[in-house]
């Protein structure tokens, strides 16, 4: 494997132009790429380490929108007061994300580009309508996260393009993240979800639930939320959850368990709401 480490955006762009068409992978924290090396899975021929690129490791707020640089680590997001206050699902997800050593290396950009169905940041990013800033030698563009992540490990990144920042806006008065892993820490999610809601005059006026690890990409449980807002019974809410998700059997759990446990947890959450 060839290892390249650009120090600036122009240098990176030059590398990306040169390696266009070659088998390369962007490396930031390396926490998804390096385990592949150990277990003998296919590795890219070239690793382009962007960890020291300047300008993409900050968190800032402008006009009610929060911008997170793609190189910000999970641990930095976890500790950030702005995120804790305005984007609680993200700080909760970072709190439950792997262990300290991995949180110190792994980046938000990497978690998005890895596009794992079980990625812990993803449900929150969907809930907060994340827009992703992508740049390449030919310009830049912005994509909503749901148009960026196409399937497990698959994104809309074009050759030569990289993710540099994430823009988020929380449209809910309340939100929370839930993760179910098979042990209390250092576990990949069996299911996870982010839930956002607003209350007007003691009743829920707005509700959205983004569920992970139950389909190839994060699923917005629209049917379930509509059903709840229309005050339908638990049975039809549960039916609507089942309609929206496509879980699979894997080493962590069966599809049947994922479906049941997501239903149990969401119904439990919804029962606590007024009305």
């Amino acid at each position: 494997m060839r290892y390249l480490r650009p120090k600036s955006i122009p240098e990176l762009q030059e590398i990306l132009m040169k390696e266009n068409g070659n088998d390369y992978s962007i490396l930031a924290g390396g926490t998804d790429l390096m385990p592949r090396y150990r277990t003998g899975l296919q590795l890219p021929e070239i690793a382009i380490d962007i960890k020291i690129l300047p300008g993409y490791c900050g968190i800032s707020e402008e006009n009610g929108s929060i911008e997170i640089g793609a190189l910000v680590t999970i641990e930095d997001i976890r500790k950030n007061h702005l995120i804790q206050k305005d984007l609680p699902c993200l700080s909760q997800a970072c709190h439950e994300f792997a262990g300290t050593q991995i949180r110190n290396r792994a980046t938000i950009g990497g978690n998005i580009c890895n596009a794992s169905p079980a990625g812990d940041l993803l449900p929150g990013l969907y809930l907060y309508s994340a827009e992703l800033q992508l740049i390449s030698a030919f310009g830049s563009r912005k994509l909503p996260i749901e148009d960026f992540i196409l399937g497990p490990g698959k994104t809309a990144l074009k050759p030569g393009e990289i993710l540099v920042s994430i823009h988020l806006k929380n449209q809910f008065d309340n939100s929370r993240f839930y993760k179910l892993g098979l042990r209390q820490s250092m576990a990949i999610s069996v299911i996870n979800y982010a839930m956002g809601w607003s209350v007007v005059e003691k009743s829920i006026s707005k509700l959205a639930i983004m569920a992970g690890s139950v389909a190839p990409t994060i699923v917005s449980l629209d049917g379930c939320c509509k059903s709840f807002l229309a005050m339908e019974n638990d049975e039809s809410i549960a039916e609507n959850i089942a309609k929206d998700i496509f879980p699979i059997d894997d080493i962590r759990a069966t599809a049947k368990y994922r479906q049941q446990v997501l239903k149990n947890l969401i119904l439990h959450d919804l029962r606590k709401f007024p009305g």
């Binding site: 385990p35 150990r38 277990t39 003998g40 262990g99 179910l180 098979l182 042990r183 209390q184 820490s185 250092m186 576990a187 990949i188 080493i251 962590r252 759990a253 069966t254 049947k256 368990y257 049941q260 446990v261 149990n264 947890l265 439990h268």
Partner: protein, 763 residues
């Protein structure tokens, strides 16, 4: 036994700091991955990639072209016997015809660096005629052709006593249940590793991460066809073993020894984690079938038990695991009529073998789940029902062995129950999402090797006094993380009456001491302790004679205590160093050896009656769990663990053992879940094989109970394995108590718990 050895206890019972702590905490201790030898080359295993079949060709031509290739070694290169079976001769060193599991050894690649060795090993092209593989006990039992060996039964044991049929006919109630338990991977932090150096003698010196140097010596001697005295096996600092380095290092060291002899160079091999988990042994999965007869007032009258074990591709230690599970199948309870059958079946999985508890945790899961199920059926609480049937001094075990002393079962039950305060808790409010439950489980663990291994149940020490008063001890068992060096230091200090700081323990080597049997079966404290007492007795008269001359007083007055030599009247004294200096100058003997073997056991293997083990350690674990009824997740909150250890040599060490055992038990019962797909391990590293983290283990309250064992050194018994045995069963009982459904399997996966909860909703 010398009188003052029993009466004075200066260093015994003290929580002496681990003598090996510093190196292990600072990282100064050199494990095998850190160790190099001049001229060293490296090897990697070549193994079967199919679960069952016969080899049709082996082609090493591509491997031979690879840069760094030195040698490919296979069955045809073996000068001695192609056999490494530890009890049964069913396991070749290198398969030449049949392969029986994914990981079955075919050869060894030797190369100039470790990464290359592993890469080149993958270039050996092997073709096979595949046979229909067998992975389950059910299939192993039912096939009529295509056996894995001559037939599919690896071994069997039984215990038959009294008249079960009559007892069932007269019982007020008969209760039946079936259980299953899963594999467990040892997950020692340091994988299997060794360095073998060829010697001028024509022999080899082996430095290995291992538990049983004398097993390795025997295996290597057989494979190389050279005498034992040309095979020197030294144990390197070993990063965990738990039974996983009992028999497995024999085959690994034998292969590398062969490579060293053939290449005439030192050869090193360290398994990667993924190879280690695929190639080496695990805890046996059991199927357990219980039928228990009981009177209406709660007296157990009969038990019929069938234990079935998945032994994997080779029998390795299955026979002794099966023996232990059979004789302990009804736990520490009095059951006058029994019919116990324990049978191991071959399958095309990695061989299952020794793992802390050695069949006992599985048996405990059976008998302790059964105690709760029977108690519920007759309307008794699980504590009272156990108290009624528990074994007391002068009662007989199921094998008809009368236990006369050091029977602390009742004490462990009462003390853990009282400490938990379960009896005074109101029935937990189990209406909400989280349900709380309590569960009790006991064990009576037979110390040392028992009747099945009596022929090798003796151990040696050699103790050298130096003229400056320092002392070197060589013992035949090993330190593998359990704290052996510290207790051996304490026991030597106590036996001589000298300060622990005077004592240095040699790395264990076949070079210094006689075959002491395996470092297994929680036997180090008893065996080495008794051998130390014996060694001291052999030299003490001479030391006292020297002291009487040196201090000018009668030798019967000499007392060595608290690191001082006195005349016991305060008239005169000297330091131990002054005495040894005098002894050296006066040509006194400065070295002693000691030996102790387990008392002869009267046991009949035909009906399983008699003395199964000479002594038993008793324990009760009482677990408190919380169950999330929405997800099925189980959190073990606390375990009250009462252990009858005879006499505590090092209470801090005992606490460590118990906390470690319970953590490992929580792993087996709750988080760990080894998964195979057609014989290939799926959960091959820590991201999918879920060892419990610090957040998953429970609070532990250790309660030490001392019922001295007359045959144990200073009254001590073993603790290493009792620490894990009741944990899984106690957790399963607690989860059953919380959700009101019987937990009949391990692991208690959230999916299984949720299924049980759904069943109770349907009822």
């Amino acid at each position: 036994m010398v009188k003052n050895l029993l009466s004075t206890k200066t260093y015994i019972g003290q929580p002496l700091k681990r003598v090996d702590a510093r190196g292990k905490v600072t990282g100064e201790t050199q494990f095998l991955t850190d160790i190099s030898v001049d001229g060293m080359i490296y090897s990697a295993p070549v193994y079967s990639r199919i679960p069952f079949g016969s080899i049709t060709s082996i082609d090493s031509s591509e491997a031979q072209q690879s840069p760094g290739f030195i040698k490919f070694i296979s069955a045809k290169d073996i000068p001695g016997e192609n056999q490494v079976g530890v009890i049964t001769n069913d396991q070749p060193l290198f398969a030449d015809k049949t392969v029986r599991y994914i990981g079955d050894s075919i050869g060894l690649i030797v190369a100039d660096n470790p990464a290359r060795a592993f890469d080149i090993a993958k270039l050996i092209r092997i073709t096979y005629t595949e046979l229909d593989p067998i992975f389950t006990i059910e299939k192993s039992q039912s096939v009529t052709t295509g056996f894995i060996h001559e037939n599919n039964i690896s071994c069997q044991h039984k215990v038959i006593r009294g008249n079960v049929e009559d007892a069932f006919a007269n019982a007020d109630k008969i209760v039946e249940a079936e259980f299953t338990t899963a594999e467990q991977e040892h997950y020692y932090l340091e994988p299997q590793a060794c360095i073998v150096t060829p010697l001028e003698s024509g022999g080899v010196k082996i430095l290995g991460s291992l538990q049983c140097p004398f097993y390795v010596q025997k295996a290597v001697s057989k494979v190389l066809g050279i005498p034992f005295n040309k095979v020197i096996v030294e144990q390197a600092p070993t990063g965990g073993a738990f039974g996983g380095k009992e028999d497995v290092p024999s085959e690994i060291c034998a292969r590398v020894a062969l490579a060293a002899i053939i290449t005439k160079r030192p050869v090193k091999m360290v398994y990667g984690r993924e190879d280690d988990i695929q190639l080496t042994s695990k805890r046996h999965p059991f199927k357990l079938k219980y039928k228990v007869g009981v009177t209406d007032d709660g007296i157990i009258t009969a038990a019929e038990v069938r234990l079935e074990e998945n032994s994997g591709a080779y029998s390795t230690l299955s026979s002794v695991v099966s023996y232990r599970s059979a004789v302990q199948a009804m736990g520490p309870y009095v059951v006058p009529n029994v019919n116990i059958q324990s049978i191991s079946y071959y399958t095309n999985l990695p061989p299952n073998g020794a793992f802390r508890g050695f069949g006992s945790p599985q048996a405990a899961f059976g008998h302790e789940r059964m105690m709760d199920i029977v108690a519920e059926k007759i309307g008794m609480d699980s504590y009272s029902f156990r108290k009624l049937n528990i074994i007391k001094p002068n009662d007989q075990t199921i094998t008809g062995q009368r236990l006369t002393s050091s029977v602390g079962a009742m004490e462990t039950l009462k003390k853990s129950y009282n400490a938990s305060n379960w009896g005074n808790c109101p029935r937990p409010q189990n209406e909400g999402r989280i349900k709380t439950g309590y569960g009790i489980a006991l064990t009576h663990y037979g110390n040392c090797l028992g009747a099945a291994g009596w022929f090798m149940d003796g151990s040696a020490v050699k103790i050298t006094l130096h003229r400056d008063g320092s002392v070197t001890v060589s013992f035949g068992l090993v330190e593998m993380g359990q704290g052996a060096l510290t207790v051996v230091t304490q026991m030597t200090a106590e036996a001589f009456g000298i300060a622990p700081s005077r004592i240095q323990i040699n790395p264990t080597s076949t070079e210094y001491v006689a075959d002491s049997g395996p470092a297994v079966a929680s036997r180090n404290v008893i065996m080495t302790g008794q051998a130390i007492i014996n060694a001291t007795e052999n030299l003490l008269p001479e030391i006292k004679l020297a002291a009487s001359k040196f201090l000018d007083c009668p030798s019967q007055n000499i007392v060595i205590e608290n690191d001082k030599v006195t005349d016991n009247a305060g008239n005169t004294h000297c330091s131990f160093g002054d005495l040894t200096d005098y002894m050296y100058r006066s040509n006194y003997r400065m070295e002693t050896t000691g030996w102790w073997h387990v008392p002869e056991l009267n046991f009949n293997p035909d009906d399983g009656n008699g003395e199964a083990y000479f002594s038993y350690s008793f324990a009760t674990h009482l677990a408190k769990v919380k169950v999330d009824t929405l997800t099925g997740l189980v959190k073990v909150q606390k375990v009250w663990a009462a252990h009858d250890v005879g006499t505590a040599i090092n209470p801090a060490g005992i606490e460590g053992q118990v906390e470690g055992g319970i953590s490992q038990g929580i792993g087996w019962a709750v988080t760990e879940n080894l998964k195979y797909n057609n014989g290939l391990v799926q959960s091959q590293n820590l991201s999918t094989y879920l060892l419990p983290t610090a957040n998953d283990i429970s609070d532990v309250e250790v309660i030490i109970i001392e019922e001295p064992e007359p045959q144990g050194p200073w009254g001590a018994k073993g603790i290493g394995e009792p620490a894990i045995i009741p944990t899984g069963a106690a957790i399963a009982n607690a989860v059953s108590n919380a959700i009101g459904q019987q937990v009949n399997q391990l692991p208690i996966s959230p999916e299984y718990v949720l299924d049980l909860i759904n069943q109770s909703k349907e009822q």
